[in-house]
Amino acid sequence: MSNRQDADTQWSLWEVFVQPRSGAPHEHAGSVHAPDAELALQNARDVYARRGKAVSLWVIPTEQIVASTPSDRGPFFDPATDKAYRHPSFYRVDRSSEFE
């Protein structure tokens, strides 16, 4: 990623999170290119929030995101898959009323 930025004049990448209504979590919507934070916010508005419902936007420099790698997959996630008692799935949450 950082090599690519050096190689051309492309602006840096920002991840965009959109909050569809107040109280709801910000959800990842996609990414935009922008030269700085203020324009990242502006671009995010134009690309992701103009048509859909949104009450708040977050933009985060992509390079600031720390992600697990494919090789983490086994040790990170497999231990959870065969222990059903760990899953909070024995009661129902009505998502539609959760944030009212």
Binding site: H33, D36, N43
Partner: protein, 257 residues
């Protein structure tokens, strides 16, 4: 539709065309960036603003058409008028130039547009205030967009700064027209229908000059100002714009898609 007292019908129609055409023509100009903007995100931003401007023009043209009472729709007014019948200020019909030119024009226009629509909300013409109220939210965003770009291009590189400054010198002489009040408009201002543009100039000037000061750019001299757009005296550029904008509707009248 009821007109406020002492308000002449054909003058009012003419006034509405002035307000609408400015937005229609600038919207069309901005749409020319489709496929040509420097980066995808900015292309979407410019297209969004173009669509906002067209969307603002439409209900005002509808209003003009219904007030005129000759059965002309907004589409008829857009596609079947000649250049001499268009009432926009010259500033908005100039070709898009480079990105710097486009941004400087938007910046000069948006500052004016915000002040204008803020006042237009108080118009006594039925329906016009509500249209202005709705448009104002979009205009506030447009103003933010062009202002942010001004700040970046103005202090960006030597080249971006030079282009912004060139555009400023080029465009300044078209800004006086935005605040020119003629006889027709003076009467409508009196009747509470039209905005007194002359009264906005000081606020516009100080808003624009504040940004220029921040960029350490000297505001151009007011010098010789050109105008005449609202009397139908346009630059040669408008005819070419209209040819492109109108050809489809004129070649296939009534076509739907």
């Amino acid at each position: 539709m009821n007109l406020p007292d002492s308000c002449d019908r054909s003058s009012t129609v003419d006034y509405l065309l002035r307000v609408a055409d400015e937005r229609l023509i600038l919207g069309h100009r901005l749409s020319e960036w489709c496929g040509h903007a420097p980066i995808l995100e900015e292309e979407l931003a410019l297209a969004n603003i173009a669509l906002d401007l067209l969307g603002q023009a439409e209900p005002i043209l509808d209003l003009a058409g219904s007030l005129e009472g000759q059965g002309r729709s907004a589409d008829d007014l857009v596609f079947f008028r000649e250049a001499i019948d268009f009432r926009n200020a010259l500033l908005v019909e100039l070709p898009i130039g480079d990105f710097g030119f486009t941004i400087v024009r938007q910046f000069l226009f948006d500052a004016y547009s915000r002040l204008y629509f803020d006042r237009l909300r108080q118009s006594r013409l039925e329906g016009l205030g509500a249209i202005a109220e709705k448009a104002l939210k979009e205009i506030l965003y447009h103003r933010r967009h062009s202002r942010q770009w001004m700040l970046r291009l103005g202090i960006g590189t030597d080249e971006s700064r030079r282009r912004v400054n060139d555009a400023l010198q080029e465009l300044w002489r078209f800004t006086g027209e935005l605040f020119e009040v003629d006889q027709l408009e003076a009467q409508l201002v009196e009747a509470g229908v039209a905005v007194d543009r002359a009264a906005l100039q000081a606020a516009w000037s100080s808003e624009v000059k504040e940004v220029l000061r921040e960029l350490n750019l000297a505001p151009p001299d007011d010098g010789h100002q050109v105008g005449g757009g609202r009397r139908g005296r346009h630059t040669e550029h408008l005819g070419l714009l209209l040819a492109e904008m109108q050809i489809l509707a004129r070649s296939h009248p009534g076509a739907q898609w």
